[in-house]
């Protein structure tokens, strides 16, 4: 299991498009993927779940991946966050 804490650095926060990107990326892997925000934990492969996070600019998330390809999953997702989901 890998845990990775990450800050949302894109201005618009976790809106529909980034959520879609995350789910699409995560679904390619076999590992389980969950996202935790304060007291809330959701399935990172569920678009409804990711969107309910409604995480805003500056807020902190914990990414949790568990499975054979967990490393690659986390790597791809983290890159997305760092690239600000291609927003700017």
């Amino acid at each position: 299991m890998i845990r990775k804490t990450i800050k949302i650095v894109n201005k618009l926060g976790m809106h529909a498009r980034p959520a879609t990107m995350i789910v699409k990326a995560a679904t390619k892997y076999r590992s389980e993927f969950r996202i935790v925000k304060s007291d809330m934990e959701i399935n990172g492969k569920s678009i409804m779940g990711v969107m309910t996070l409604a995480a805003e600019f500056g807020s902190e998330l914990e990414l949790v991946a568990d499975g054979v390809d967990e490393k690659f999953l986390i790597q791809e997702i983290v890159e997305m966050f760092l690239n600000k989901f291609g927003e700017e």
Binding site: G13, H15, V23, I47, M51, T52
Partner: protein, 565 residues
Amino acid sequence: MKKIIGNSVSTGVAIGKAKIINKHELYIKDKKILKSEIKFELSRFKEDVKFVIYELDKLIQDYTYSKENRDILESHKMILQDPEFNKRISILISEDQNCLEQAINTYFTEAIDIFSNVNNKYLSHKVNDFEDVAYRLLSHIKGERKDVFVDVDENSILIMENISPSFVTTVFDKNIQGLCTERGSRNSHSSIIARSMNLPMLVNTMGLLGNIKDGEDLIIDGNDGYVIISPTKSVLEKYKAIYKVEQNIQRGLLKLIDIESITKDGKKISLMSNIEIPQEIDQVLKYNSAGIGLFRTEFLFIDRDDLPTEEEQYEIYKNIAEQCIPNPVTIRTIDVGGDKLSNILNITYEQNPNLGCRGIRISLQNVPIFKQQIKAILRANVHGNIKIMFPMISGVNELLKVKNIIEICSKELINTGIAFNADMELGAMIEIPSAVITSDSIAEECDFLSIGTNDLIQYTLAVDRDNQSISDYYKPTHPSVIRSIKLTVDNAHKKGKKVAVCGEMASEKKYVKLLLALGVDELSVSPGRLLIIKKEIIDCDIAEMRAKLDKILSCKTSKEINKLI
């Protein structure tokens, strides 16, 4: 005051208040399911999601030029593929025993609730997407069957865009003054029912929905074919007077109820009824009809997700047969296009459904379903006087196949020891030109013929009766149609068989004398037309019209024929 023109479906004046029926509103039946239904409901969910995703994929392909639209559709697809969505629906169905519609509604109501409260404007408008997905899914599941008739009362005049066949039963169950549709046709099923009930109705009232508000005063003039919105006081008074006169005429016709339908020159014509839904039996009995010349059975098959069982059919046929004793009830086996049954049968897409798998062809391709209907009819015949007839017969071949199936059904019923009565007249519908031409052979293989003029005209003249742009081509008195009827009658009479006309033509006053002169033995009409047609028969001197028959048959155009009749 505004006036909007339409096509009259049934004559008469209606005065009431407008009630707009918007079919785009969703109806959720709040229904719990049984434990035994859970498995079925879950498989339904899987199938429906699969279908809607397939539909979205097709749309996405079409939207390659617009990324924004494509993204929206992609996100809809993702919602449907969402593992949490699938899990939650499964729980709502299997643990809470919600029906599928209710489960979907609950899920999206919750989601919409959460997202409306989210403090993020990029997410709060996601609510629209959820509504769209929910709508797409539910409308796939339910077709157009939604309860939008909440505030309808006996003063209402319903205003709709169109009435889909699956809506018909609900509409006519209501006690209303009349109805108008912006589209539609005089020969559609809903129009046929409106006539049977003598309910004022207009179709093709273009622009009506844009010009009217719920609750406005409204007059339907079914005689001249228009509606009046917010009539002035003087106009209203004028129509109240007409309404009164019409009621008086109706009272005059009611006096004919117990009079026999015998022509002036002494020929007894059996005047029967066409019914489409069992509820119409009330009218049949009220007007003292000589029986049912056409009992359509389509209502049993459309607008539902499963097939009617033999038992269910038996109960309905038996009930109608018993109520009509000693008069006959002519049951026509299922007569729909495959498109209407796509929710219960595996139907492949047809490019040209009117020339496709419909009528008897559906029955012969789905023999187990056909056998259920035949057995139900054979069993119901114990309780009354039933005749059976088959739609879309194109030649003697189908009739032979059908007779073989009836024999098999009888044998199977004997083996199971269930009571039935196979002593039953068999009839073929004559509505395809090939059947007209070979009506001599067909008459040999059955006990009576029944001409369905609507389809006969449609197929003879190659004109779609619901296509407004070519409605001028739909001519009941086209010489080809009149000669077809003549040929059919002559061929049948040579073999000692009787001929009925059960199409709309029999319900039109102006054609009655002509049909009788052509030798037709029986007319079967919408219950609402029974007394009007009876009056026509009573006033008819067949010999007088027959004297003109040679001239009519040599006419070159329908215009010439119309002048002579």
